[in-house]
Amino acid sequence: MVTATDIAPVTFQYSHVIGRQEVRSGNGFFNPVAITRDGNGLLYVLSRGTETPAFFPCKRVTVFNPDEEEVLAEFGQKIPPEDADETTPNGSFMWPTSVALDSHGYAYVADEWLNRISIYDQERGNWIGMWGIPGDAPGEIDRPAGLAFDKNDNLYMVESRNHRVSVFTKDGKYQFGWGGKGDGDGQFNLPWGIEIDHNGDVYVADWRNDRIQKFAPDGTFLMKFGESGDGEGQFNRPTGVAVDKDGHIFVTDYKNDRVQVFREDGGYVTTMRGQAGLSKWGAERVYLDPTIVQARNRALNLQEREGAFQGPIAVEVDDDGRVFVLETARHRVQVFSKQTAMFAGEL
């Protein structure tokens, strides 16, 4: 008799790393904060960039193939801080936080300073519209953070400063919402990332409460897990959450510089800490300058120091068991493959 056990260990095999620090455009990111993937397996990474120096044109969405590591498109541009107000030109970003794709492949980008959702078409670069009314009344938004579409193209939006989740049609018509500031069930404190699993259930990274909350699609509270700390199952400002087809929940434990993995009931499984080596795009830069090559050869504990997550901020999964961890402080995506043991033998 052959059987498999549902308590089999899960491990993650490091595959490769994509990215480099790139302040302008092309093969790299600059303080990326969000990642998503389309139906063709292309990844979209949103670079938030920095305030300084002002001349860095660093805010953008980069679309690329995670296997061939080819940049296929970029869109969005930085607006100078002094111009970041209601007159900001269409398609510009000040403090972008998240990118999500609807079923047609249109990209929706949230900007928490401008309180607007900008929409780009499938050609990946053409701005086609925006919506968002600042405020705290239902249907108004204050500091949009995570975005996620359900199967019906409803956009679930985390509003960090309204401490709630609001659901809109993709053209911005308010449907319903839930939340409020607090630490009770269904309440939030500056929430950030959001995920919708294969069943349509909603997971929110309740950032300042150091926990993950799970809800039914209508906002009914289902469960929570996590508390403040750096032990197993504890968090220090969780930012992103993703759920794979097996129900495994991946949480970017931002200030603990790790990703924690949980069972679908919230039970702790394992911790990932990063294993990056030199990326393809990184090698392009490094091998331009022999002094960098020499410095890398001399560096103490290069593999250990370079490999570790720094600022894991968002995570994405696919149905092939791949996990994409986005690190804002290292401007890259580390790719892992899930390995689940199958035990064979007589019971």
């Binding site: 830069r285 370079e306 804002t328």
Partner: protein, 469 residues
């Protein structure tokens, strides 16, 4: 009432010196607690919360959370918003004495670690601080101690440790050390170096790490400041810490930073302290307390010299900018566009994280020339003239509470009080009152009143008196 006013004036003085100034409401609150209690609160940041939502700030300025960029901005945000003002003021104090520059270090994570070290050790034992700065990766790189080897020393760090960080060239007309002491000091610090760091490409800067390399350390016998032994860097610091010159050096720096502008450091050998009694008091406390900086500060803030030293120091550019932002209530929470603050300080002559040399910034009157003065006044006038700033609105409202009609003299007097009890010369005061009077009777319940207040504020910050803290 007179006592309370006196207390608030004194509190304004304390907060200008031990911090970066405060709005009137904070002065009232602190004065109600009392001077002694406020001094103790400022001296003990470890038991008093800084009152900032730093996690939220790091979320907005995403590069702050791992210090890969934006470290000067992060430091400035803390100067503006920390309730523990003396902690930040001491970080700035040490940043101006134990100098490194980003123009050479070029690693914000490493510079951040140095600033955090100042925050941790800046009010502790001076001996411990000297030890930490000798292990500080930014300093080791900045002053080339990583290039100093057994049998082939680089004297740079050893020299500056003695000359600029602890003792000074001389005291009371006598040299404090010899060239041989410099060489022996450098020998003691051989092997104090940094690990080969991960380069900044392709993933951004990594923080440098201190390592002691025993293979490269000179184990030979050294004679330093009259003592002989197989000294390591730590032994050298122990010897430095117990020198009278070290007590004098630290006392003069504290006096100049908190009480009254002293002569510039290079002239200290020949130029005696302007207030020998207070310096002696601080020197005594240095030894009595076991080199404890906090104890020296406690003595300093209760000294007659400090209590009577109002408006005897020229504000530094950092004090000018941070003080203005705290006064008007701007940047109390993150928003885009922090960079201009650094441009302003730079144009006024003080670019933090990039002092002009290892000697730091020259202070006092040297902050002021035609160009920097114009920048200073324009910056301050722009902010205090902005009626949208909450701190300016608060001044307008408080003046309005005096009564429906106020005299020009009363308006000038009360506005100076609300700015922190500024003391103007009679001639200046009369000139300002005459300027205000040109607008006719002052009705405080009119739209125009706010504009008249903001115009007066702009005139006050352009006076000679406002240059001083």
């Amino acid at each position: 009432m007179a006592d309370q006013n006196h207390d608030i004036a004194l509190m304004a003085h304390l907060m200008r010196r031990a911090g970066f100034g405060a709005q009137y409401a904070e002065l009232e609150e602190r004065a109600a607690k009392g001077y002694d209690a406020t001094v103790e609160e400022l001296l003990n940041p470890e038991v008093n919360h800084h009152g900032m939502d730093l996690d939220v700030a790091e979320r907005c300025f995403i590069e702050w959370s791992h210090q890969t960029r934006g470290v000067p901005e992060y430091f400035a945000f803390r100067m503006i918003n920390s309730r523990c003002q003396l902690e930040e003021k001491m970080v700035l104090f040490w940043h101006g004495i134990l100098c490194t520059a980003d123009s050479k270090v070029q690693s914000y994570p490493t510079s951040y670690d140095e600033i955090e070290m100042f925050r941790q050790y800046g009010m502790g034992s001076f001996r411990d601080l000297l030890l930490e700065i000798s292990r500080d990766p930014a300093m080791i790189f900045f002053l080339d101690n990583c290039l100093s080897h057994k049998g082939a020393i680089n004297e740079n760090y050893g020299r500056e440790l003695l000359e600029l960080f602890s003792m000074g060239v001389g005291m009371d007309g006598e040299f404090n050390y010899t060239e041989d002491d410099v060489k022996e000091c450098a020998r003691a610090f051989t092997g104090w170096t940094i690990a080969n760091n991960v380069p900044g490409q392709p993933y951004g800067r990594y923080r440098a790490k201190f390592v002691f390399n025993p293979e490269d350390h000179d184990e030979g016998t050294k004679t330093f400041l009259g003592e002989t032994g197989n000294f390591n860097g730590e032994d050298v610091i122990d010897i430095i810490a117990k020198q009278p010159a070290t007590a004098r050096f630290l006392s003069r720096h504290l006096y100049s930073y908190f009480i009254s502008d002293e002569a510039q450091v290079p002239s200290w050998m020949e130029t005696p302290p302007k207030d020998p009694e207070t310096i002696k008091m601080l020197e005594d406390e240095y030894f009595r307390s076991g080199y404890n900086i906090k104890s020296m500060l406690r003595v300093l803030f209760h000294s007659d010299a400090f209590l009577n030293a109002q408006f005897q120091r020229v504000k530094s550019p950092v004090e000018t900018v941070m003080g203005t932002l705290r006064l008007v209530g701007d940047w109390t929470e993150p928003k885009p566009g922090f960079e201009f603050i650094f441009d302003e300080m730079k144009h006024m002559g003080q670019e933090i994280f990039n002092p002009p040399s290892v000697e730091g910034w020259h202070t006092g009157q040297e902050w002021i020339d035609g160009g920097t003065l114009v920048h200073r006044i324009n910056f301050t006038a722009d902010f205090v003239g902005d009626l949208k700033q909450p701190g300016v609105r608060e001044i307008v409202n408080r003046l309005g509470e005096i009564g429906p009609v106020i005299s020009p003299e009363q308006m000038v007097e009360s506005t100076c009080q609300l700015l922190g009890h500024y003391e103007l010369a009679d001639e200046t005061r009369q000139m300002l009152a005459a300027g205000v009077a040109k607008g006719g009777t002052i009705h405080t319940d009119t739209e125009e009143f706010g504009t008249r207040v903001s115009e007066l504020l702009q005139m006050i910050v352009a006076t000679k008196e406002y240059i001083y803290a």
